[in-house]
């Protein structure tokens, strides 16, 4: 199951809003379709939207009707700004678009068709490196997972949230591949049920034992001693280790601390925003009330009720036992440990 696929002049995006009921791909022929797919969460997960936006930028560049290098670059920048505006919280989106633009600028002036080839190589690189990064993250992270571990996760930080393999679920997959018996509790993750729809589906397809719970059962699950650790993904990590992730993550971190359970965050280093001193600077997307008042198209709340619908929350670094990245597993104090792996770079 690929989350996205480049097919020459078309870019296919697996429509995750339809999972697990039906497996359908959206055929994107321009960047507007990609932007729309990101906005409506057909493709979601910080690393996946970074890669999708990169391919979207290639599609956009292909649609520019100019031979002038300056006009071409200006056009690509305009399209990047549009793609970047789709979702505010995940930093991978801007990271990927920034990397695309940097690659384009360093290629120097050239014919649009040559520059498009450069861009496509860069997008392929982002996609491939994400997949490789996830696998490395999995190998490093699985060392934290004891044999027999019962693992609680939230939202979907799996193959579907990335180019493949996954971040939090990648760690779980790697533990399995290392011969450990593990089992998973998936919080359903209201409002959009990524845990129920996507994580439960991914785990079940691979025969990893998975039990679905509603989000509000996590506390009682821990109180009953039914879970050994928590591992989640992240959408943006500040330089002090504060981590934005799907709404509900913060509550799980507080509960994990209350019960003495390790709380791990798994994310590629591209999710770390070294420009931010703390999580207070992370913009938190607030989404439409209909996501809460309606489920599967059915209204469940009274007409006209006010809704607060933040898509993410911020977990303070003090509640995070370790951050698992493709550059290594880091521990507090994160100001220091994240700066160290930043300097070392990939392939340390």
């Amino acid at each position: 199951m690929e989350t996205m696929r480049w097919e020459g002049r078309e870019f296919l995006i697996l429509d995750q809003t339809r999972l697990p009921g039906s497996v359908e791909y959206i055929r994107c022929r321009d960047h507007l379709a990609v932007a729309e797919a990101i906005k409506r969460l057909s493709v979601r997960g910080a690393p996946a939207i970074g890669a999708a936006a990169a391919y979207g930028l290639v599609l956009g560049a292909m649609g520019l009707e100019t031979d002038d290098p300056g006009e071409f670059l200006a056009g690509v920048e305009r399209i990047a700004a549009h793609l970047s505006s789709t979702r505010p919280t995940a930093v991978n989106l801007n990271w990927a678009l920034g990397r695309m633009l940097a690659g384009l600028r360093s290629a120097g002036p050239g014919k649009p068709e040559e520059l498009i080839r450069v861009m496509l190589r860069e997008a392929d690189g982002i996609y491939r490196e994400d997949l490789e990064g996830n696998k490395k993250m999995g190998r490093l992270g699985q060392e934290l997972i004891p044999d027999g571990a019962r693992i609680l996760t939230h939202c979907n930080a799996g193959a579907l949230a990335t180019a493949g393999y996954g971040t939090a679920l990648g760690v779980i997959r790697a533990a399995r591949e290392a011969g450990k018996k593990v089992s998973v509790y998936a919080g359903e993750t209201r409002p959009l049920l990524q845990g129920a729809r996507l994580t439960a589906w991914e785990m079940a397809r691979e025969g990893i034992p998975v039990t679905l719970i509603t989000d509000n059962m996590a506390g009682y699950l821990m109180a009953r001693g039914m879970v050994d650790l928590v591992v989640v993904g992240a959408d943006r990590i500040a330089s002090n280790g504060d981590a934005a992730n799907k709404i509900g993550t913060y509550g799980l971190a507080v509960l994990a601390r209350e019960h003495g359970l390790p709380f791990y965050v798994a994310a590629p280093f591209s999710t770390v925003d070294m420009n931010l001193r703390s999580g207070a600077g992370i913009p938190i997307e607030e989404r439409s009330p209909e996501e809460v008042t309606h489920i599967a198209g059915v209204r469940v709340a009274p007409e006209g009720v006010r809704v607060w619908n933040p898509a993410f929350d911020v977990t303070p670094a003090r509640l995070i036992s370790a951050i698992i990245t493709d550059r290594g597993v880091v521990r507090p104090p994160y100001e220091k440990s994240l700066r160290e792996i930043m300097k070392e770079g990939i392939g340390d």
Copy 2:
């Protein structure tokens, strides 16, 4: 809006599974229909199921075809056992049935039609006293609510969960009636969305400002300083103050403590089970997986996924700032304060 109504030979139960979309009453002509309505949560909330079971027992007694006092009593006891078996966690169910049987026994042998009149008076008493108790609880509890308070509640501990007025929502109503400006955050309360469907509806109908959130937003709501206190109901309170309530309550209590917010439990004294030393002895109902895998009849999780679906959890007394009852507001240590109000009795 009445949650239930006795109409001579029929007992009407508001079908809360259909709210807020449609207001429909179930006409119960025998105790089996009442038992079924309790099981499928057409009537729910600890005090409401107590009152409904009492009327169900009257209907059952009316259907007994015997003139023999001994047979009649045995029949009523059999029906009480059936009604009692519908739901395990709320103690009010057994409390109400026990009170009905005690009333019947103390009436001594008599003709069934006379005994049925005795039973009906007792059921009316349970219903009326619940309503009065809620109002008293509201008056006592509202003193804990500061003017301007932004109050988080969970599930529905409102008029719909009781004979009327409500426990947790009764406290909020009473604060409003005392001239205080209050506003409410309603956690939607998965899986069955009593917060979204019932609490949001009750509050909106009375013009009390209410904002709906998914359960996993509570932590971030508190972290952002958007809420001042939490008040919830209870289904059974042990003699040490441990309180069973709708799943998710425990997590809210941990979060409230983390953020230094008062956490109040409001329940009639009939919810206190002085026979239990701690919450460890409270039976926790586990319900069907379909409640989690389906919403409004639509499947949202993959086929065959395992589900854990406890309907309640237990909040330890140490996380509860005060318990608001119709016999007074009690504070820790609850072993002592609950015993004191038990001795004083109603009308202290």
